[in-house]
Each structure stands twice: as C-alpha cells, then as structure tokens.
Subunit: 330 residues, 2 copies
Amino acid sequence: MQRFINDPDQVVEDTVKGFVKAHSDIVRLAENPRVVVARQAPVAGKVGVVTGGGSGHEPAFIGYTGRSMLDAVAVGELFSSPTAKSFHDAIRAADGGKGVVVLYGNYAGDNMNVKMATKLAAKDGIEVATVVANDDVCSAPASEREKRRGVAGEIFMWKVGGAKAATGASLEEVRAAAQKAIDRCRSIGVGLGPCTLPAVGHPNFRIEPGTMEVGIGHHGEPGVRVEPLKTAEEVARDMVKIVLDDHGLPEGTEVAVLVSGLGATPLNELYILNDTIESEISARGLKIRETWIGNYFTSLGMVGATLTVMALDDELKTLLDVETRCTILL
Amino acid sequence: MQRFINDPDQVVEDTVKGFVKAHSDIVRLAENPRVVVARQAPVAGKVGVVTGGGSGHEPAFIGYTGRSMLDAVAVGELFSSPTAKSFHDAIRAADGGKGVVVLYGNYAGDNMNVKMATKLAAKDGIEVATVVANDDVCSAPASEREKRRGVAGEIFMWKVGGAKAATGASLEEVRAAAQKAIDRCRSIGVGLGPCTLPAVGHPNFRIEPGTMEVGIGHHGEPGVRVEPLKTAEEVARDMVKIVLDDHGLPEGTEVAVLVSGLGATPLNELYILNDTIESEISARGLKIRETWIGNYFTSLGMVGATLTVMALDDELKTLLDVETRCTILL
C-alpha cells in the first residue's frame, strides 16, 4: 500500500487536522472535531446550509465549506456516515435563527443519522429541512428513483443551496432550490481501478486489468456492467448516452456539466474524456453553459471518472453565478 | 494500462481539445494548436506573460492561462519541451506592445527552444525577458543552483509575474518580480509510484513497493535516496527539513506553502502530509501566510507529492493577493 498515511485508524483525524490548518482562513473546527464550520458561520438571519458524509471523498465534503456555500459539514469515518451527533452539531453550528437545510446523499446510514439529528435539533428549537441527493442513474432504475444514491451532483446541489441561502431566502425557498438542482442532475461513474481503505490494506473490490466497471458507485458499488476497457471516446459516448437517455431533456436545454476524477485519474484524461463529452452533448441539441472539470468528488485512490449533467433554468443559472469562497474553484 | 485515452500518440492533441472546450470562457487556441491563449490576450500596453512546457503535468501549464496570470502557453508533447516555433507563437500571441516575459522551467530542451524563440521574436520587434525556474533542491547541490530543475515553484512564479504585469509594470519590473519569486522558492518531491507514458505502455521507471524515492523529479528523475516507505509524519518532516535547510530563512520569515499531488495521490493524503508540514514549518519559527493544496502540478499518474516553500516580502504578499481568473483557484 503506497500511501502517505500514519496510523491507518487515524486517517480521518489526520485528514481533518491538515485540512483545517491549510484553510484556516475559510474554516474552523467546531467543538466536536468531526464538524467543520465556515469561519463566518452562523450568520444571523441566514438559512444555515449543512451537509455531511463519509471521508475519503475529498475535497467533498469538507472542501465545500465557505462563504455562500456550506456553513457546516459533518465528517464521517472513511466511506461511513457521520454520526447523528455530528450531524446535530453541524446543524447547531450553522443555525442563524432562520432554520437549517441539510443537503446530503441517499445512503442508509446518512438517512438514519440525519433523521435523528433533525429530531434532536427540533428539541433545540431549530427548524430543519432536508434534500436527499439521488443523481446516480445506474444505482437503481428510473422507476425507483428514490432508491438511487447521491454522487457528484451533490456539488451542484450545495452550490445552488448555498447561493440561495446567501440571497436571504427562506428555509422553504432554499430547500426548494436545492431540491430542484438535484432533481435536474443525472450522474454516472466509470471505474478502471479499485481503491483501498488503509485499515483494510488491500483493494475492497476488483477491476480486472483490461476491463472497466460502467456505473460504478462512489464506494466501488457494482455498476450495470463490466466490459472490456474501451477508448476514451467510446467511454465518454457511453457515459453521455446513459445520462441523457435517463434525463430525457428537450432540445435546446441549457446544461451545466461536471467531469470529476475519482482520485487517481490524471487530469489530462478528464480533458480527453471531455473532448467527446462536449461533442456528444452538443450533438443532442443541448447547450453547455459551463463545464467544471477536476477532482471535485473522489473515492480515495480509485481510478475512474464521473459525469454529471444538470439541466438549467433561469434561477439555477443565477445561483450558479453567485460568487462563492471555499477551497475549490466553483 | 488502465487509462482514459484514445490513440496513445494523440494524447496531447485530445487533452488540449478537451481542455479548451471546458474552459472556452477563459482560453482559446492560437492558430498554432500547440499554443493556448487567454481570451483577452494580447492586452495593449500590458507586458505579456508566457510559459510553456511538456504535457502530462496538468493543470500545469495550460490551466494557469487567464486574467492576471499567463497570457499564452506553449504546449509540448508528453514530458517534452514545446518547439521553438510554439514558444515563438506564444510570445506573439501575448505581445501587447510592452514586451513579453517568458517564465519557464530549467530543462535543456526548454532552454534551447526559448532561446531560439527569443531570437525569432526579436526579429518581429518584440522585446523578450526570461526567468528560468530552478526550485527543485534535490536536482543539484546548492553550489550549482543554476543546474537545478524547475518544478511546482513555477506556479508561484507565474502568479507573481502575472499579477505584476496586471498592475501595469514594465518588462524589467515584471521580470524582476518573477525572478524574486522563484529565487525565494525551494521545492522537493517524494515518489511512491511511477507513471506511464501511454505510447510506451509501461512505467518509465520503478519504485519498489514498500519504498519511496526522496527528491524525485517531475518526470521520474532519480532523487537523492531510495528508502523504506515511512509514515506521512516522517515523510513530511523530511520534506520540510530538506527544503528549509537549503532555504536558510531567518526566524519570523513569512512563507507561502504549496503542497501538490503528482497525479494519483488522493487529496486526503495531501491534507495528512500538511498536518505535519504546518507543524514543522511553524516549529522553525516561520510564519505560514497561506497554504495551497491540491493537484497543482502533476506528472501523469505518478503517486507522490511535492512541497514548495516561498519566502515572502511585502511585494510578493501584495502580488499573491491580486485577484486572478484562470481554471484553478489561486
């Protein structure tokens, strides 16, 4: 295991410490060391915006803490939900008296812990609304969309929710904007190589050399098919087809595109994928308004990439243009 | 080779095409498809700022094109210098009538081609000044600093040079500021795993599992020693020691820190390294003003990280604070 780590059981601890040191102008730790808080939070009279999730997806989730973005983030162990207590503490840290929206991904542990945290917050007198991301098209059929997992579309959801809250909107308005953002997102992942949880010490699943896993999840969840590794052009074409067939957008729709590496994919390969992604999306009569490309939502050292397409409307365009300040260029 | 590529001989072509599509709001291609130009360049009455280098280091070099940053970038084949013609075309694309500064790394091919391009530009009546980055402390002893290679310190050099040019400074003032920036930078790389040139198809050097290469170069150039893989804490301590022993900075000096992944290192491991890097630098009585952390200067899919420390003064602090717009958060 060729990794920069100390005690494998302390990876999250060490990650968060080093992160907060690097970005102390933007974030701080709450009393609970599993909660990262934006320096200016809570902002009186603003809806608080919270997320949380397992570690190992950096810069998600903590890297999106900041101004006009997330006010507080609950940090879980590697690939595991934060505790209900951490979600609760994040909600309290973000609360500026106008309610808190929790924007998180559809995983059993997170669902359970956010639900418990919401009840605890109610006892504090904090009103909480939630939006559950389910943009991963390969994790369940369209007829069971509520079963789908949340993946990189969460970043668009946070950006939209964070921006809406920054405009002074109400809790219901922020919730509705974030819900719309994720409703209009579809994502797919393709894996070329597995990742390793340091405490385990060997890959937690296999991808045979010469093959790829189409539809892989953010923790190596099996996709819809394993097939021989194709060219970047063919892979990109398949990704666009799967995402847009599910999306069913009318011609002329404006979209935002996010191409993210999964941790160990060189950036130039994302550009190579994007060359075809852009052509394929345009060939379907959609208009790409903006493309975000880089390591936005990773899975430790997984080799692979994800594509997210969000269908825009005027409100979403305005919110995407709101200036943010977090640790990533948005 | 588990990679997202098409024809291995077309990697650079495909990379640049996909990059320009993603960032067409910031960059465009020159007539020469091996030259990326900032959309607003050339700016009349502003010193042009140019760099260039081999591909495979994305987001370097092309990703740093933009406002108050690089005006034009010459693109080489993978790990190879751009041609003299491409450097020349980049100089012409950046020329706003006030001269052009070329800020590049100390490699034989780049030195030769920039020199030829400078002569060609002189015939066009364009005055060119150059700064050669040599921040890699392990590539030659301090007594032969002129032999040292340029690595991630180039990013600070570009930021300072680009910002100085944006203030309306003269060619000599921009050159002097960029020269000061790189003179005050020291960098080191540590490699845990090799990278593969797609056209070759197998790693171009070996790092035995369980070992690491201390002082590795950006193309896998051998470092100063191969040793058993240590903990992140020990690695970070060694990196800081090597960089700061060479630097010899007085107590109280303010510094900027850049921790970059080499392409296949998960971001959380850079945070883990930074936890110790920050403590060690502070323990030596230096003051960290800011930390940049992420995949800023990579080497295809190399597993490893670099540390750069730049000693600041008032001018450099002011220039680091100039707002830029390129594809990376600076």
